[in-house]
Symmetry: C2
Subunit: 329 residues, 2 copies
C-alpha cells in the first residue's frame, strides 16, 4: 500500500510514527502478506529560516528526529540529550538571534544541510541523505520537502504601520500573541513542487492529512503549485485528522492562525478548508456531531490526543480504516 501524507512538524511527525507503528502491528496481527507499505511524507518547508548563516528546516527536522528516535519527546522540538554550548558562544560574539534556541546536536544537522546545499545539492537530495542517517528508508518512509525552492512564511502584523516578520519570529519570539493580519509565503511565486511530490499524491492508494496546523503547515503545502490540483485529481481517498478538539488546538496556535485568515476555530470549518478534495474527516468524540458537506465524518473511539506512540497508532489506524472504507467519489 502506498500512503502519502502531508505533514507539518511535531503533530505530523507523531502521526507518521503512529502510522508506521500501526502498519507494523497490522502486519503482525493479520499475518497477512500485505506486502511492504510505502509511506511518502511531504513536509512543510515554509517554517524554514536562515539562522547564523545556516539553513534550518524545523518541520523536516522534527520528522527526522521523531521518526529516527532522536527527538526530545517532552519538549516536542529538537534533539534529546541536547546541550547549548555553541549558541551560547555565538551569543557571546554578539550574533543574533537569541530567541530561537539551537542545540549542539541540532546545529550539526543545519551545518551539514547548509554545506550540502552550498555544494549545489537540492533540498530533496540533502533531506534524503539526512533521512538515511535517521533510518527512514529502512522503515519504508520517504521524506520529501514540499519544494526545493527556498520559501518562507512571513507574518504581516496588524498595526498602524504594517510590518512583516518571519513566521518563526512570530511563533517563537512573539508566541503568536502579536495580532497578525495575514500570512505571506515569500518565494512561493517562484516555487515548484519538489520531484516526486505531485506523483506521490496522484499515484497513492491513500492520502492522509495528519492533525497539523491547517493554516501554517498544511495550508502552506497546499499553496505549492500543483499540490491542490493533485489532491483533487488523485484516485486515492483523502482523509484528514482534525487538529482541533472542541474548538481548541491540541498543540500550538491553530486557533490564532485560523482567526487570522478569518476562519472559525471549529473542526467543521477546518474540514471546509479542504472540502474540494477531502473524502473523510476523523474527529474527536467531543466533535461527533460535526457534519461537512461531501465529507464522511467519523468520530474516533477515543480522544484525538497523540499522548503516546500507541495512541498515535490508534488514531492513524482509524484514519487509514476510514480511508479504506471509502471509495473515491
Amino acid at each position: 500500500m502506498r500512503i502519502t501524507a502531508l505533514a507539518g512538524g511535531i503533530g505530523g511527525a507523531r502521526f507518521i510514527r503512529g502510522l508506521r507503528h500501526h502498519l507494523d502491528q497490522r502486519g503482525n496481527d493479520t499475518g497477512s502478506a500485505d506486502g511492504p507499505h510505502e509511506i511518502t511524507v511531504i513536509g512543510n518547508t515554509g517554517d524554514d529560516i536562515t539562522l547564523f548563516g545556516l539553513r534550518v528546516c524545523p518541520d523536516l527536522d522534527s520528522l527526522l528526529y521523531t521518526l529516527g528516535g532522536g527527538a526530545h519527546e517532552e519538549q516536542g522540538w529538537g534533539r534529546a540529550e541536547e546541550s547549548y554550548r555553541v549558541q551560547d558562544e555565538l551569543l557571546a560574539y554578539g550574533a543574533q538571534p537569541d530567541w530561537f534556541r539551537l542545540g549542539d546536536l541540532d546545529l550539526a544537522t543545519h551545518i551539514v544541510r547548509s554545506q550540502w546545499l552550498g555544494q549545489g545539492h537540492t533540498l530533496s537530495a540533502v533531506t534524503a541523505r539526512l533521512a538515511q542517517r535517521w533510518g527512514l528508508p529502512d522503515q519504508g518512509i520517504r521524506l520529501l520537502p514540499m519544494t526545493d525552492h527556498p520559501v518562507e512564511t512571513h507574518v504581516v502584523l496588524s498595526g498602524e504601520e504594517p510590518r512583516a516578520v518571519h513566521f518563526q519570529e512570530w511563533w517563537v519570539r512573539m508566541r503568536a500573541a502579536e495580532p497578525a493580519e495575514r500570512f505571506v509565503v515569500a518565494g512561493m511565486d517562484r516555487a515548484a513542487a519538489a520531484p516526486g511530490v505531485l506523483e506521490a499524491i496522484r499515484s497513492a492508494d491513500v492520502v492522509l492529512l495528519p492533525p497539523s496546523n491547517p493554516v501554517v503547515s498544511i495550508g502552506i503545502i497546499l499553496g505549492v503549485p500543483g499540490v491542490r490540483d493533485s489532491l483533487r485529481g488523485t484516485a486515492a481517498p483523502v482523509v484528514g485528522v482534525s487538529p482541533l478538539i472542541g474548538g481548541a488546538p491540541v498543540r500550538g496556535h491553530a486557533d490564532t492562525c485560523l482567526a487570522t485568515i478569518g476562519v472559525e476555530a471549529t473542526t467543521g470549518a477546518v474540514a471546509g478548508l479542504y472540502a474540494d478534495f477531502l473524502d473523510g474527516w476523523l474527529v474527536d468524540p467531543a466533535d461527533a456531531t460535526t457534519t461537512v458537506r461531501g465529507v464522511r465524518t467519523a468520530a474516533h473511539d477515543g480522544p484525538l490526543l497523540m499522548t503516546s506512540v500507541a495512541a498515535a497508532a490508534d488514531i492513524a489506524g482509524a484514519a487509514l480504516d476510514l480511508a479504506l472504507s471509502l471509495g473515491r467519489s
Copy 2:
C-alpha cells in the same frame, strides 16, 4: 611605542602574549610614562580552510584564543574546556573530514565568521569583531589578517603523479610526513594586503618576527604583495626570533618545511631568508656562534623556549631591547 609583528599560530600567539606581558611589566617597573604601547599583529591566513562549509582561520583563532585567555594551553590549539558533540554528529551524517577536529566552542567562531563573511563583511572587519569579544582592543592589540582575499597554502606532494593537498591536510592528517615538493599559495596572485597592513609595517617604531614557522607562516605573509617591500623600506628596526634551537624546531615541522624549499635547518639559514630586511636576530644560547651578514645576532640569556608566559615575556623583551639598541641601517 608602535610595535608591529608578523605571526603564525601558536608560536606567534605566545610571543605576542609575552610581549604584552613584558610591556605591562616594563611600565610598572620603570614607573615611566612610556605612553600606551600599540601592538599590531599581522596574522597568517594561508592556513585557512573551509570545513563543513565553514571558514576556519586556525592562526587567527590561535591568536584570539591565546590573547583572550580561551586557549587550550597544553594542546596548543583550540579552546580550553572543549567538547566535540557537533563534529561527532557531522561525522554520523557522513560529512567529512574526520582528521581535523573542531570543538563545539571553536565551531561557534567559524559559524559566526562564516555568517558575517556571507553578509559581505571583509575578513578584517570580521576579525575585528571577533577580537572585541576576546578583549584585544582593551590590551592595545590590533589583529589584522595579512589579506582579506581568501588564500590557501597547498602542498604539492612528491610522487610519480604529483598531486596537491591543502596545507592542513598535509600538516594535520599526514603530520608533514608525506614528502612535499613545494608549497603553492592558491589565490595569492589576486590578493592584496588587508587595510592597515603595509601602513602598520611602514609606520612602526619596531617590527618583530616571532619564532613562527619561517616557510608556512612568516614566509606566506612575506608573499603578500607589498609586505616584503614595506619591511625593506620601513624606518623601524626589524628583529626576529629564531624558531630553531640547534637546528631543531621548537614546535611543528619547520625543518621539513625548510627542506622542502631547499634551505638548511639552521638558525643562520632562516635569518638568511629575511636578510634583505632583517636588522637583528635573537637566537638560543646553543646557537650563539651564528653569524648572518648584515644582521646583528644576539644570544638570549636563557633557552629560547616559551614554556610559560614569563619565559615568553623574557624572550619578547630581549627581542624588543635588541631592536631598540639598533638604529636602522
